[in-house]
């Protein structure tokens, strides 16, 4: 109880494959929850249900202890759940600020009549958020396809931060980044936590997990095999859960 966002007993099957099997997780505000597991353990499927990309076959979601429906990404965005996807989900043919405002474009009225996109507002707001995150992208009007992997990741992160999320989900946020940038992302996670945001982070990097997470959930073959406080476990134990040497559900 006391979770900001909670998924209870969610299940998702694709044909004959049960990708996520009766899993419950929750994140409190100001908490960093790490989800770890091998490839194909169901981590991404689980968070895609929370973000509304997949609809679960069974189970329910609670936000602020009230049951909510998440059937479309719009629903979860509406609740204040922002997601940074592993594949970043950027429209490469659009420019930086258009991606930050994608789906939530700012408009203004010309002569009080015709509604048009407010490019200058979106441009300057994007510049502000990038500065706040200390991210340097030379031209906000350049298309995503001209940016490097790290810059793209930075755009995806700024997009989620800009909208004042209450829950932020990060799927492998440091995968495409250099060492310095990785550190920046982890610093960002800590500062979000201080602002009372609930963060769910999926990562393969044990070092990252142990440096930022408060709690660690281990998934294996679609099931939750461990849910433990970081301080009460260690890397070896987590790795054992991941590979299936021990199966204990707390």
């Amino acid at each position: 109880m006391g979770f900001l966002l909670e998924a209870r007993n969610v299940t998702k099957t694709f044909g004959g494959l049960t990708a996520v099997d009766n899993v419950s997780i929750g994140v409190k505000s100001g908490e960093v929850l790490a989800i770890v597991g091998d490839n194909g353990a169901g981590k991404s499927t689980l968070i895609k249900m929370i973000s509304g990309v997949y609809s679960p076959d069974a189970g329910s979601f609670y936000f602020d202890d009230k049951q909510v429906k998440i059937e479309h990404p719009r629903d979860s965005l509406g609740l204040g759940i922002e997601t940074i996807y592993q594949d970043l989900a950027l429209a490469e043919n659009l420019n930086v600020y258009s991606n930050i405002f994608l789906g939530r474009e700012q408009t203004k009225r010309l002569l009080g009549l015709i509604e048009v996109l407010d490019h200058s507002y979106m441009y300057s707001e994007s510049r502000k958020i990038l500065e706040r995150l200390d991210i340097k992208i030379p031209a906000l009007k350049s298309k995503i396809s001209t940016l490097s992997g790290g810059q793209r990741q930075a755009v995806a992160i700024s997009r989620s931060i800009y909208w004042n999320a209450r829950v932020l989900i990060m799927d492998e946020p440091t995968a495409a980044l250099g060492i310095a940038e990785q550190r920046k992302v982890l610093d960002l996670v800590r500062s979000l936590k201080q602002h009372g945001i609930g963060v769910i982070i999926i990562s393969h990097q044990m070092h990252d997990v142990f440096s930022v997470a408060d709690r660690i959930v281990v998934m294996r073959r679609g099931q939750k095999v461990a849910d433990t406080k970081r301080d009460e476990t260690n890397t070896d134990e987590i790795v054992k859960y991941i590979v299936g040497a021990e199966t204990v559900v707390t």
Partner: protein, 369 residues
């Protein structure tokens, strides 16, 4: 080795690259200008006269509307093969209603309005159905609209029984072939509709300025340009064509958007069909040999759009249409046999896509050098 020596080289390299990119991006417009110059020499006054150029515009009206419709669909990452036959369906339906009402001695204004209305309404279901099939049931756009291509053509031929639908009020062609100004030099002038009772000689010396059809299509294109470039709808269209998954995850109603896009495309084809009735005074079914939909695709691609979606411009498609129209008109006035026109259009289409493929390399190769 000093920096000051290297800098000018780097700068000129950059300039050259920039020029190449600008040329590659606007080659269609430049090529159009080139064609106009060439045909002005080869065709003389027959080509380069206010009358003929206005004629090219006037005859391109429906083609421009179809290409604009196709632009929306192609940017969203799809294709609409049904627009040619939807145009025929609307044309025949509008004319059939006008024919029936006219034969019953109904008021001309009402006859025309109801005919127009019916022509536009019948254009909606084909696009709506394709849109639902594509968005909801994941039928590939090529197949869904190819299905509608056959269905709408069959229905059209059933309605018109294989013949153009005639016997419409005369006012129809007067509106459709109107010009902003009709001027009898030194005597009188009229607006929009050519007056009755002119002698044959007077008609020959009548100066016509700006076809009404051109005014209409320019207004329509401006509205469509506005939707595509200044609205959320337009922005979402590019986003869906660029990365449908990203668009969905950003909270965009992708399904609803695609249904609207195909419905819009079909509706625009309906406008083109009704327009065709006004221009010709009859309801024309679309013959198989017309291949309007493929010409529209060609124009859009020549205009710089990519068939994989995410790019394209209304203005580019307009250039594409005018390029093909000018080519056909210019070649025929210059006395070139008709089959060369097909060859010419084919060559330009291939040229367009080749330039499109070369264009990104143009940047990266230079950057690597």
């Amino acid at each position: 080795m000093s920096k000051s020596k290297q800098e000018p080289v780097v700068l000129s390299e950059y300039e050259a690259r920039k020029t190449a990119v600008v040329l590659a991006r606007n080659w269609a417009a430049l090529f159009l200008l080139f064609l106009i110059v060439v045909f002005s020499f080869s065709g003389g006054a027959g080509f380069f006269s206010a009358t003929n150029l206005q004629n090219v515009l006037h005859l391109s009206t429906t083609f421009l509307i179809l290409a604009a419709a196709q632009t929306f669909v192609i940017i969203s990452g799809g294709i609409d093969l049904s627009i040619g036959f939807v145009m025929g369906l609307s044309s025949v339906s509008a004319a059939k209603i006008m024919q029936i009402l006219h034969a019953g001695d109904n008021p001309v204004g009402m006859t025309i309005l109801i005919g127009m209305f019916v022509g536009l309404v019948v254009a909606v279901p084909p696009g709506l159905v394709s849109g639902i099939l594509i968005a909801k049931y994941k039928v590939p756009p090529f197949i869904a609209t190819l299905g509608m291509w056959g269905i709408t053509n069959g229905i059209t031929l059933h309605i018109c029984e294989g013949f153009p639908v005639g016997f419409l009020p005369q006012l129809v062609t007067k509106i459709g072939n109107g010009f902003l100004f009709f001027i009898l030099p030194g005597k009188e002038s009229w607006m929009l509709i050519r007056p009755d009772g002119l002698s044959g000689e007077e008609i020959r010396s009548l100066t016509r300025i700006i076809p009404s059809s051109t005014i209409f299509v320019v207004v329509l294109l401006l509205i469509l340009w506005h939707i595509l470039h200044n609205t959320k709808f337009g922005q979402h269209n590019y986003a869906i064509g660029g990365n449908e998954d990203a668009a969905l995850r950003s909270g965009i109603h992708v399904r609803r958007h695609l249904i609207i896009v195909y419905t819009l495309s079909s509706f625009l084809a309906g406008i083109a069909g009704v327009f065709n009735v006004f221009q010709t005074g009859i309801g024309n079914f679309t013959p198989f040999t017309a291949m309007y939909e493929l010409y529209a695709v060609a124009a859009v691609v020549i205009g710089g759009a990519s068939l994989s979606g995410g790019s394209g411009r209304i203005f580019g498609s307009v250039i594409g249409v005018m390029l093909i129209a000018t080519l056909e008109n210019g070649l025929s006035i210059s006395g070139v046999a008709p089959f060369y026109r097909f060859i010419a259009v084919g060559l330009i289409l291939i040229l367009a896509v080749t330039i499109d493929q070369l264009f990104p390399k143009l940047i990266s190769r230079r950057a690597a050098a």
